[in-house]
Assembly symmetry: C3
Homo-oligomer: 418 residues x 3
């Protein structure tokens, strides 16, 4: 018989976090310096700081509260999100500064490097969405470290072998994060839990917290997409903002329409409003560099919402039953499919812009190679991470304790009183 | 006997949304272009973007969560708010660009046009507050389209015949939205529901979500009021920010005082804290162009909070019983009366500034005409919209299904589990 | 026998608030003017406004929702926070402008003076955290007025006698607020309530609202710390932002580690995640002017989180049992101890920077005097306030009505329906 209580993480989580944090402090003490270049950073700072705050809101608040929709898993959804995000950010600063360290011996921290690091964190948080509820914080920390490393490796590969620009490799975060997470949850599938997890359910108030996260993501997604576009090209930055805004607006309407249309009783699905309204932002994020007209952004937003909503409605269950892949937050529909759609839209729009066949074919090959490298790396990293996490040493929660805060959190006042 | 389930909206809402969104995309494809003027917009962008985000927070988050205070109607309150706001914004961009389209053949989107469009959306959301819970999303979409059209028509009339400046006509959004909504709910009154709707009630947690909306509105109202004041007149912009801030601060204290004073047991009413604390911001919004001293803003905030709180306490029930006008969110007290007070304050302060009688009388006539046109247009548009919505073709929810998310939302996890 | 209902505040709270607000309006009418210096303030405004909004978010939203974690006390936690904050801000503007009034006859309001006033409000809100739930709004208003006056007096003393810079005296807000509050709650201790208050408990959803407040504080703390650093020294401002960010990141990881380590079952404590993750920001806020390296900020964040979490785990109960000091929100661990740690870090780092012994000793004496003055003033003001509040004239709630919204709020819809 399985034990009644969830296994204690005291001997696993505490040393892991302490060790990791101490290691980070030591590395930062030896190799990281604050940006001292006051003249340039003074100006940049004033321009950049409020966008940096917007990205903070997306990563720490938006993603965090988007994961609070389980009735008994709100503390874990929002709390572990914070934990994972700060670890990912600290780790990504180190990985991203590797080249600078190699050449100059020091890694420099400025607002831009923090924003890039938070993009990496966002990609780890997307992966986390697939396994949320079925893992413990130790798993999540390991996933974070490996996912961020994989994504950094992917960026390095793309930049070194295909001369992809850094910004373009970062926009692949949705695709990398989603397929890494899907592979992971496929490997971690628990055969014996054919019945769904009994605590995997939502209620009205938990759903409202989730909508709160959605609205914040929705509002600050234009900044999230445009923040890394060069400040010296204000036209491109503007276009990224407007495109994202329009695509999100269209997505919200379209997701509602498709949700009602695909339900026999003509009702809206809260999950669709919480996640599929964001599909346009994801798709535009991947393709924004080639969008020049409002209708292009709006059409991409329309298509992304249709795919995302239908995927959420039909594909999610199919993935579970046919492929034994339990995707907790519907990451495939929210980030995976819209990300691929954005990639496709990028390809088509770029081909339409090309004058001659040779350039078109060269771009197509280059663009397809980019996707293939990203997908194969995300799948292989997912497989490696999956097998590492299958090890029982990490003390996974029992099926009965999945989606339950009480496995990881003490409720002192409740316990004493009731 | 009435059917047990709420009527399905599949054949009404889905085609309406699809059609509307497709029409918007087609219109945008033909007539809308992104602002390409990089030189000027680069600079403006940096200054304007964070204010644009603040307005987003007011419209999408603030108004949305202000409507979540019903215990069973949180998804609808926040979800329909998003839906209505994005439709209103897209529609308002088209209506506002009509003149530019007429002259140049194209409508240009920039941050300012989006902010103006969101102001129109705010006016539609205010109207929505009167009928919330007693309507279905199809109604809300129709209300949005007609209210925004009416408000645009009002602006055009005022600007054409009275030479009112665009900014001044936009500040009338509270008055227009409130009286449009009140007429609407008066026409839609359900005689047979003399007993109040049984699900029209709040609870602690729903009230907290509402307070969350209040606090966001409270914090970002200074931006909401000042955002359209010309950047080349920083003094006026500053004055608008400080005035709104002070008026809101005074409102919060005064609303609490009046709430306690008007309750026999000396208790605070959550509704007063949620709505009447904002009255000062509304009143200053209408009158800010003539406020030069802190005490003027503070006195307006004080008076607005007194009127708003007393209106909420006594007038709301009176409106229901005597006029058969069921005002769900107390829009009359939150936006209508403080808006009128602001109009009056504007008149008085302007008259005090006038040196000679002729100018004073001319201004008074002009100012009264502005109000009369706005009121008559809002009332007539409200009547037209009301009669359109009375048509049973739109499938209104039964009395029993009012204020109930389950009429429009599926709860898959709950349904499966319980 | 004690009465069944909480005493009515109608004859206490309403006149107090009305009187106070009228007095503020009169004072503002006579002595306060808006900043008319358009040329300079235009530029400053654009730079400063979004930081001002961030501080608003910290004070009105962050602190407010951080106090919503009691299951029956959410309206009071967030509503009284707003009330206290606006009174404190209006009062602090007057107190801070005293010198300017003395010299020029007028107090000038600009964004900076409002930000400083909100810092004072933050210090009052910290004090409020110690007595929350055991006091009524009349108490809270009195505490606010006295705490803000005390903190202003402290600043004046430090600046006059020790030539401490204004910014440095403001950074002591955590220490002043915490020890003022602790003295207060020690004096107000109710001997007969040896059993803990029966309604002092949390639940999942209330905890999530609290985490929402935490995340907002966490995200906007870098602005809160850096906002008053001179804009003409962008390097120092940058350093303050980066230091706070890094310290907060380390705090989040460390608080989780220590929380798990100090629980026999290896579980996280929600209270630790809600409060101790912020300890690094507090400590850096006090010491930021001497932090030059990332590792310094990170080490301070690490130490602050360890102290804070251990203090929350062991010291809070000890304070209650041994010293009869009931610290509702754990202000000692969240603000007091990390504040003292920051003070110590400031001393040590400054001493390490000194070249000769004389300067070092002079600085140490100066720094210790600063702390001693602050502590003695906060303790004596706390004692005075405490004895004032012990007066039964203010109608404190009975033990049974503590931590219960129903003592101060009417629930009309609930009451009618159930």
């Amino acid at each position: 018989m399985a034990p009644q209580y969830a296994p204690s993480l005291r001997s696993r989580l505490a040393p892991l976090l302490c060790l990791l944090q101490t290691a980070f402090i030591v590395i930062y003490a030896l190799y990281v310096e604050l940006d001292q270049n006051v003249e340039t950073s003074g100006t940049t700072f004033r321009i950049f700081y409020s966008e940096f705050q917007d990205v903070n809101v997306v990563v720490f608040l938006g993603f965090g509260f988007l994961s609070t929709f389980f009735v008994r898993y709100g503390f874990s959804g929002s709390g572990f999100n914070l934990l994972v995000a700060v670890i990912a950010t600290q780790w990504a600063v180190i990985l991203n500064g590797f080249e600078s360290w190699y050449h100059r011996g020091k890694i420099r921290i400025d607002l831009k490097s923090l924003v890039v690091a938070e993009m990496y964190a966002a990609s780890a948080l997307i992966s986390m969405g697939t396994v949320l509820g079925k893992t413990n914080p130790v798993h999540l920390v390991l996933i974070t470290l490996l996912e961020v490393s994989g994504f950094a490796l992917n960026g390095w590969l793309l930049q070194t072998f295909l001369k992809v620009r850094p910004l373009s490799s970062i926009t692949l975060l949705h695709i990398f994060g989603a397929f890494f997470g899907l592979t992971l949850t496929w490997i971690l599938y628990r055969k014996d839990s054919v019945q769904r997890f009994e605590k995997e359910k939502s209620d009205r108030k938990a759903g409202l917290f989730c909508i709160l996260g959605t609205v914040f993501l929705w509002m600050f997604w234009p900044t999230f997409n445009s923040v890394l576009v060069d400040h010296h090209a204000p036209g491109r930055k503007l276009a990224a903002v407007y495109s994202t805004y329009l695509a999100l607006a269209v997505s919200a309407v379209t997701a509602a329409a498709v949700s009602v249309l695909s339900n026999p009783k003509g009702k809206l699905n809260p999950g669709h409003m919480q996640r599929c309204t964001l599909a346009g932002g994801v798709a535009v994020g991947v393709s924004m560099s080639v969008i020049h007209q409002p209708w292009q952004a709006m059409t991409i937003g329309f298509a992304a919402a249709v795919i995302s909503t239908l995927g959420f409605r039909y594909l999610k269950l199919h993935m579970l039953l046919a492929f034994e892949c339990h995707d907790t937050c519907g990451v495939l529909s929210t980030h995976g499919l819209p990300g691929l759609l954005g990639w496709l839209a990028h390809l088509l729009l770029q081909l339409m812009d090309c004058d001659d066949h040779t350039t078109a074919i060269r771009f197509a090959v280059f663009h397809i190679c980019t996707l293939l490298i990203t997908l194969s790396l995300s799948l292989s990293m997912g497989i490696i991470t999956g097998f590492l996490l299958k090890w029982n040493f990490w003390r996974p929660p029992q099926d009965k304790k999945c989606f339950d805060d009480q496995a990881f959190w003490e409720f002192p006042h409740l316990a004493v009183r009731k």
